[in-house]
């Protein structure tokens, strides 16, 4: 895309226009790349939503109003499996709980006031939280949150519309492997959280419990069933770096280093010398 600035953190950023200066911010660059990567898979959400039985406006309502990828996929996943509306709503709501944790972290980090709190809340998702908390400078944290939040919101909704319009013209979704896309999407959402033995054990127990429960309960309910059993005092933190092991994460790491190293003198990183 044409917005890429010349090499970030290069000398002389102060002499450029404000827009170019903003694009030289590491957090803004990470935010933009995460927005594009995430926005693009809005296509698969839109297409899966309409092939799961939702209409165009229902798909758009989820992206515009619910706006949390995992919860949205959960909702259509339950509907596609023949589950009831209440089961779909419950799965989406349980998955959305982590956004409350992110909200607490971001509130402590960014201290938004007035209307920013209410707009920021809607933009509080994995991607914006990860982009913001991956930075160490408060101004960069703020830029990262808003760039990724607004960027993902706009592109996610745009590509949901594209996917929903294309999906209804596809015919049999199975012919295109769209049910396989859903399987892959859930595994990809789960994967970065499987760090260490306990998360893997929890995932395995829930997977087995779900399979065992399938013949005995109505469609959609196995997803919720595990919730009523078991201990919940395992030493877990919510995963706030969903991109940590993927490519935007590397950029983020690199950006962090650029930013961290020559901080002491209060100069632009890399300026002069």
């Amino acid at each position: 895309m044409g917005l890429e600035p010349p090499d970030a953190c290069a000398a002389g950023t102060e002499t450029r226009s404000p827009a170019v200066k903003l694009l030289a911010s590491p957090a803004v660059r990470v935010g933009i790349s995460i927005s594009i990567a995430t926005g693009l898979y809005g296509i698969s959400f839109g297409a899966l939503a309409v092939t799961s039985g939702l209409d165009f406006w229902q798909a758009m309502a989820l992206s515009l109003l619910l706006f949390s990828g995992g919860s949205q996929f959960a909702f259509i996943g339950v509907v596609a499996g023949g589950g009831s509306g209440i089961a779909a709503m419950s799965a989406a709501t349980l998955l959305g709980m982590r956004n409350g944790i992110y909200g607490m972290q971001l509130n402590a980090l960014l201290r938004p006031t007035g209307w920013r709190k209410y707009i920021g809340a809607q933009l509080t998702i994995d991607e914006s939280t990860a982009t913001s908390t991956g930075q160490s400078d408060p101004a960069e944290q703020r830029r990262g949150f808003w760039t990724a939040g607004v960027g993902v919101y706009v592109l996610w909704n745009l590509f949901t519309a594209v996917g929903a319009l294309a999906g209804s013209g596809l015919g049999d979704p199975k012919q295109w492997g769209l049910d396989g896309a859903a399987v892959a999407a859930f595994l990809a959402l789960l994967w970065p959280r499987l760090k260490g033995r306990e998360p893997v054990a929890i995932a395995a127990v829930c997977a087995v419990a779900t399979v065992v429960a399938v013949p005995f309960v109505p469609p959609g309910v196995p997803i919720l069933g595990w919730f009523s059993h078991g201990r919940r005092d395992e030493g877990l933190e919510p995963d706030v770096e969903p991109y940590g092991s993927r490519h935007p994460g590397h950029q983020q790491d690199a950006a962090g280093k650029h930013q961290g190293a020559p901080r002491g003198e209060g100069t632009e990183p890399g300026a002069g010398s």
Partner: protein, 103 residues
Amino acid sequence: MSLWIWLLIACVLAYAWKIVGYFVPAKFLEDPRTSRVAGTMTIGLLASLTVVNAVVSGQGLAADARLGALAAAAIALALRAPFLVVVIAGAGTAALLRFLGWS
């Protein structure tokens, strides 16, 4: 029509979670139980959703092309492919297996 109602309730509750985070005292965040519950719940639900979408068919289990999609996605993730590539690998594998005649 009733799907619309549950869908809109889900949207309201999703925003409720988000906005609640901005108004609860920071002390609540320091209670380790809060983040443990959220972390455990997220992992458990995603594991359940993965399995349901891979092998559940109506009220029974089925081994079909979706298992191939699951394997392809796992390989792509192990190779650190980005999300979109993982999803395309899953879809492509399922489509290919069906084209080759495996349900």
